[in-house]
């Protein structure tokens, strides 16, 4: 099913939950809403589910406006962060509750519930109460309950936040696989950019109730169109340094005190002469080298595979991912080489990218 959001807005008095959101989701697409807590992603999701009534704007399912439709008439399935299982019912009753409300005959109900439960790998737990299940099992029950009525649209509200790291990893894969196989249009709300990057076809980044951008994970990572996205997507986060770009002898130099990097002309020509701009570069695109910008190591954070090194260049700080075998220590002086084909530039006032306009 196709989902369209047009100028979707939710306000409570002066509090803005979601602000003029425009988004088209294709049939069978997996879209993640990504943003920090309180950015309006859950509000938007609950409007799509029909729990909240939009203050303004339209929600369309396959072209039909559903603003006034009650949740039960929208045929959506939803999985909550808290799982929201019914504690007084056992697993079978939980999973089959949507069918019971549809007055499906007992026999068929039992069959379907068993089929869904087996698919989720909880077929042997039908008589248990939710309190007797582990977090992962409860999650599967919640997923089964959302799937059993064969919804046109699946909504996930941070479904993996309450699981431990290892389980989260395996559930991540399973949900993605399941969504692909069933081909149900899905919206997945998360504040975890890794989850969004790994699972979604497209990521809608939200901040302060506004939709910042919606594009594929790769595009978001390589061509962030706002400063916020650049800082939010990717781990460890992108470095930002205020520089001025000047043209000298046919080359473009990004400069500040103690810092001089030559940037490729295709990027440099877009920012030259614009005064102070923000240069962004990811920690993996900076390497320790024999030549280049010199700085002092402020702190070393071992991450296992790499060391995350905070290098001070004058007043600015740059995080670098370095090989632990280099044996770098606090206070050492190092030189940094920047992979300038990956640099980003942002306007410090509008926080928009100077490279990737609309």
């Amino acid at each position: 099913m196709k989902v369209e959001l047009e100028n979707l807005t939710k306000r409570w008095g002066s509090v803005v939950g979601a602000d003029s959101i425009n988004l088209n989701i294709q049939d069978g697409e997996f879209v993640a809403f990504l943003g920090p807590s309180g950015c309006g992603k859950t509000t938007t999701l609950l409007m799509i589910a029909g729990i909240y009534k939009p203050t303004k704007g339209f929600i369309r399912f396959d072209g039909h406006v559903v603003n006034q439709l009650a949740p039960k008439d929208r045929n959506v399935g939803m999985v909550f962060q808290s799982y929201a299982l019914y504690p007084h019912m056992n697993v079978f009753q939980n999973i089959s509750y949507p069918l019971k409300l549809k007055k499906v005959p007992k026999e068929e109900m039992r069959e379907q519930a068993q089929r869904v439960a087996d698919m989720m790998g909880i077929g042997h737990l039908m008589d248990r109460k939710p309190a007797q299940l582990s977090g992962g099992q409860q999650q599967r029950v919640a997923l089964g309950r959302a799937l059993i009525k064969e919804p046109n649209l699946l909504l996930f509200d941070e479904p993996l936040s309450n699981l431990d790291a290892r389980l989260r990893l395996s559930m991540r894969g399973q949900i993605k696989r399941l969504q692909m196989e069933l081909g149900i249009t899905s919206i997945y709300v998360t504040h975890d950019q890794v989850e969004a990057m790994t699972m979604a076809d497209r990521i809608a980044v939200m901040k302060d109730g506004k939709l910042q951008a919606c594009s594929t994970p790769d595009e978001l990572y390589d061509r962030p169109c706002t400063l916020f996205i650049a800082g939010f997507v990717g781990n460890p986060p992108m470095n930002f340094v205020e520089v001025e770009v000047v043209r000298e002898d046919g080359e473009y130099h990004a400069r500040r005190e103690g810092f001089d990097v030559v940037v490729p002309p295709d990027r440099g020509e877009k920012v030259v002469g614009k005064g102070t701009v923000i240069l962004g570069i990811r920690p993996e695109d900076v390497t320790i080298a024999d030549t280049g910008v010199s700085g002092e190591i402020y702190v070393v954070e071992p991450l296992g595979r790499d060391d995350l090194i905070d290098v001070r260049i004058g007043e600015a700080g740059v995080h670098v991912l370095a090989d632990p075998t280099l044996g770098l220590r606090m206070g050492h002086n190092v030189r940094l080489n920047f992979n300038t084909h990956k640099v980003q530039f942002f306007d410090p006032q509008t926080e928009q990218s100077l490279l990737w306009g609309d």
Binding site: A49, I51, V76, M78, A84, P87, H88, Y97, L101, A142
Partner: protein, 313 residues
């Protein structure tokens, strides 16, 4: 050498163990003695009441018979169970039934109305919600004595209505139950609201999305969650109804409509000497169902204190 040290170590360990045990037993004994001393007056009081109901009179805890000698338990004080003591009043069993009707009527009435009202107040946003909540709180703080005259007029008005006047009007058990329900509702609504506030919104949203109507969500999903609260509220309202005196005494004029506390008051006549031992017997009679009830519901009652506070998102 080595073995000696081991022996010594064992001895010391044994010694410390013993010392520790002695100290522990001593500590526990002191606690018990203190507890027994503090509870003794209550136990003696109850023992006294029970013995008194089976005696002509008592001296301390000892029963004294009519001749002034120690001993002899009698059943005279319990004769109200099989003799009608007051010609203008119904027999005790009818009075007990009235008490039961008031108490159970309150359980059903307060339980139903407050769980519906509290759900709306906890979950729905409508204009006047805040002021309604504070108003009920003020109403709860109002002494019911101040409302008696107004309620009298209301009941007289209901009496004038055909049909329901006979059931809920002035000088009817139904009327008393009605007034008691309304006086108890503020407490019930606030209490139940606390329980509703504790249930996550997600569960309700999940049920709505699963396809349930608002009423089904309330009945099939929410009510089962607050069963302990409902049970606790039932116990409290039952006790309130069972022990009610002020309202029944004001709005009934004896005869067949009295309840137990009102009936009990009849024994304290201004003209004849008061038989306190019989009053004790009636009081004990009134207490027995409550005691049994309490034994089975103690845990639920404790639950009520873990109920309140904290709302959903």
């Amino acid at each position: 050498m080595a073995t000696r040290t081991l022996r010594q170590a064992q001895d010391t360990a044994f010694e410390t163990d013993r010392l520790y045990n002695v100290r522990r037993i001593l500590g526990q004994s002191i606690a018990y003695v203190l507890l027994i001393i503090s509870i003794l007056p209550i136990v003696i009081g109850y023992a006294w009441v029970i013995i008194a109901t089976f005696s002509y009179r008592t001296e301390g805890l000892l029963p004294i018979d009519a001749e002034g000698n120690v001993g002899g338990l009698i059943l005279d004080n319990w004769s109200f169970l099989w003799e009608n003591k007051f010609p203008s009043y119904a027999p005790i069993w009818r009075v007990t039934l009235n008490s039961l009707i008031i108490a159970l009527g309150m359980v059903v009435g307060v339980g139903t109305i407050s769980s519906l009202a509290a759900y709306a107040l906890s979950r729905m946003n409508f204009s006047g919600r805040k002021s309604f909540l504070s108003l009920t709180l003020i109403l709860h703080a109002f002494p019911s004595v101040t409302l008696l005259i107004a309620i009298f007029f209301v009941l007289r008005f209901i009496s004038g209505m055909p049909g329901i006047g006979k059931l809920f009007g002035y000088n009817t058990v139904g009327g008393v139950a009605l007034v008691m329900i309304s006086l108890d509702l503020p407490l019930g609504v606030w209490l139940m609201k606390g329980f509703f506030d504790n249930i996550s919104w997600d569960m309700e949203r999940a049920a709505l999305i699963d396809g349930a109507s608002r009423f089904r969500v309330w009945w099939e999903i929410i009510i089962p969650q607050i069963k302990p609260g409902l049970a606790a509220l039932s116990v409290f309202t039952f006790l309130t109804g069972w022990n009610a005196y002020l309202v029944p005494a004001t709005f009934t004029i004896g005869g067949t409509t009295a309840n137990l506390p009102v009936y009990l008051k009849q024994f304290m006549s201004d003209t004849a000497p008061v038989n306190w031992n019989m009053i004790a017997a009636v009081g004990l009679f009134q207490l027995i169902p409550v005691m049994i009830f309490f034994l089975f519901t103690q845990e639920l009652l404790l639950n009520i204190y873990s109920g309140g506070a904290k709302g959903g998102t």
